[in-house]
């Protein structure tokens, strides 16, 4: 536990020192893979004040490594702090993404598989099944009793056309220790840099360093009750600022689309990509 906390704090500090090129998505995965040998470190922060519940902040440390051109592996470490409640480590995720087609196509599929071990998690990295605002009202002490060991599969479809990126995720999640049905969800994202070609001047606040977009995501019920009934959904704009030779900073307010959703979720991300980190040392 102490090791994880140390690693987390170290990475949180380190992340402010580097550079990366990112799309402004928080929930949606694009078909982009991590460059082989590169390690991207991100800290995702989420803040929300659900109706009739204590406000909370969730933080997730993300370590993304490009193993090969067709395989990217990631580890997430998550924690959250709820006002008038407690600050806790909520667990980890380990995900792998595989890109079956090397060449670019109009639609580029990526297969995603993740194992997660979480309790009282509030990172909202995906919305599946009948996830709702009521889940966020459960005190940490009670919620921690329910440990979720889940398998998550995603079909990621990404398209790039004239600078626009459109990404679609279909999510299927299965609890491995409880007799619960498969849960489903979706995430859609669209984004575009403000300017496609770089300017002549080397500048920080140039339009080409900014990407804007929007995301839409939510639950699709379970295998027993597939559909939109009793599900929650969110949508919101997103912006990413790719600082030249520095980190990428992203921000997105997500708005709940129905009564099952939290009114507004604020998401903030800072990420940095280390180039060829392991290969450099191995030479």
């Amino acid at each position: 536990m102490k090791f994880l906390l140390t690693l987390y704090l170290f990475a949180t500090f380190f992340v402010g020192l580097g550079s990366a090129q990112e799309r402004p998505y928080f929930v949606t995965y694009s078909s982009d893979m991590e460059e082989p040998g590169n390690l991207e470190v991100s800290v995702k922060t989420l803040q929300a004040s659900p109706k009739f519940a204590n406000s909370f902040v969730s933080q997730t440390l993300e370590l993304e490594y490009g193993a090969t051109a067709w395989w990217t592996s990631e580890v997430y470490l998550s924690g959250q702090g709820t006002s008038s409640d407690s600050t806790i480590f909520t667990g980890y995720r380990w995900e792998n993404r595989f890109r079956p087609l090397f060449r670019e196509h109009f639609i580029n599929p990526v297969l995603y598989i993740e194992y997660e071990n979480l309790s009282a998690d509030r990172s909202l990295l995906e919305i599946v099944g009948n996830d709702s605002i009521a889940d966020l009202r459960i005190p940490n002490g009670v919620a921690r009793r329910d440990i979720e060991r889940e398998l998550e599969l995603k079909l990621i479809l990404g398209s790039d056309f004239r600078g626009w990126n459109v990404s679609e995720n279909f999510i299927a999640e299965k609890n491995l220790i409880e007799p619960e049905p498969w849960e489903f969800g979706y995430a859609l994202g669209v984004s575009r840099p403000l300017q496609l070609a770089a300017g002549r001047k080397d500048c920080v606040f140039c339009r080409e360093n900014f990407s804007v977009g929007a995301e839409l995501y939510g639950g699709l019920g379970t295998l027993d009750s597939f559909g939109l009934k009793a599900t929650s959904h969110y949508a919101g704009p997103a912006v990413a600022f790719n600082i030249p030779r520095g980190p990428t900073i992203s921000f997105s307010p997500n708005f709940g689309l129905n009564d099952n959703s939290v009114g507004v979720i604020y998401r903030f991300n800072i990420s940095y990509e280390f180039q060829q980190i392991f290969r450099r040392h191995s030479r």
């Binding site: 008038s84 196509h105 599929p109 009948n130 709702s132 459960i138 009793r145 859609l188 939109l228």
Partner: protein, 563 residues
Amino acid sequence: MIRFMALLQNLPVVRLSPCFLLIFTLSCGAGDAPPFPSEAESTPAEDSIGERLFLDTRFAQYFAAHMTGVNAPLAVGDPVVATVPTPNGPLPGPFAGQSINCRSCHFVTEFQGVSGAGNRTYSDFTTRSPIPLVMNGFTETPRNSMHMVGSLQPHPGPTFLHSDGEFSSPADLVAATLTGRNFGWAPDQYQQALAHFAAIIRGDDGSSQLAKDRTNGLSYSTLFLGKDSSITSDLLIPAADRIDVQSASNEQILALVSKCIATYMGDLLFQQDEFGRYIGSPYDVFLRINHLPVQPNAGESIAQYNQRLYKIVVGLSNPKFVDGTMGNFRYHAQPFQFGPTELAGLKIFLKAAAVAQDGSQHAGNCASCHPAPDFSDFSFHNTGISQDEYDAVHGAGAFANLAIPSLAERNQNYDLYLPVTANHPNASERFRRAATAANPEYADLGLWNVYLNPDIPKPQASLKSIVCGAGKDCSVDNGLPNTIAQFKTSVLRDLEDSQPYFHNGSTLTFGDVVRFYIRSSQLARMGLLRNPPSEFKGMSLSDSDIDALVAFLKSLTEDYDDA
């Protein structure tokens, strides 16, 4: 694969799929609230064994006096269990031909579907339960059998059991009951009771139908030893608890049995999901479908939660109501509903009058003692029911003039005032009795009998924290006068299935209950209620509130069936 993808990308439906998904999603409607998850949790072995012990009819004095063998049925059963008294007359007893057991006063599904009876939340049907032998002048228990379901619901503050807080742990209650008056054992027969009890446990061979149904036909000695390979995992008690009953002392056996039954009692809870959110009643459904908070937030007190809930329900502009499409009752004739009348009742239930001068404010202040979500504060209050009973027999104002001794006088004259215990087997128990015309010194003072009672030491520290808690005046006799006629607050969930109500079973309907509170709070306002509760200052009810409050209390009903 590449060709397939190329083909796919030319399909218009694929190009338009994001648009379809967008439209699909934006039509997601108002967001009907999802049901809370309900998951079956594993049950500790003590629970299954505890249930068998709870039902075992061999621990009573009658069995000891009439048995021909530990595992042989009785030739003639105890008359006390031959029938079960109900307000509509006696019904055949489910344990007829046997002797008394715990279930004899705490039924569940034994009378399911029986006209004039029905499911119970571990209570019986009568005002006071008949006991096997006349003892200390008692032919029945001093109080109404309190429903057990929900009584051990985890909650802030100490746990008390029995209407007067005589026990602070379920294991203590079980041990005292199995060896006490309710099982036919006199106060000075503790050692005999204990020896008989241990003999039953040691001699049991698991041949009874009960043993076959509950513990796979295994004997108590096998189960408690925990070594037999035929013991399934659900019946294997933890290694630390195991004993060899053949060599263990009688006290050790009683302690383990008490622990098993206590574990079983702890699992008697109203329907709730894995996060402790209640799910069984129309009221619970109403909160859920309106996205209202169903339990306190972390850091929020129960009282704060109830105040917040009141503000929210008062501000509800367009509530969704519960009807038969959202649930149904299997064991109750009434509709599964929470409509405008129930909502009006909820508001009255939660509302506290600023300064109640009369009954015009539609404020029940009920939640100050029966706060949601458990609908009990698990503490003690004087509702005035003892005074009501006493004055009904001896005339208005009689209870106010009843001579009640000081702490010193009481404890110096134990036999004269306090309940029977092993140390005082001949005590009069005069203040733990029903009021009768023949004995004007008889009354039920509830907690007063237990608080600072030297023969009942275990709950004293916890009781002191309640009686002399913040804001309480304990300057006189360490607060003993404040305990006069105080009784433990009932859990209101599924109250319908535990009538008659109050510690003396004096009311049969919710309407009568509300009418009593109107009357008693009026007495308090007039200064005519002895030891009035401070909560009555916030109660301002009139007859116009009865229908709504009754509807709300009915909306707390659920189909409890021990499943």
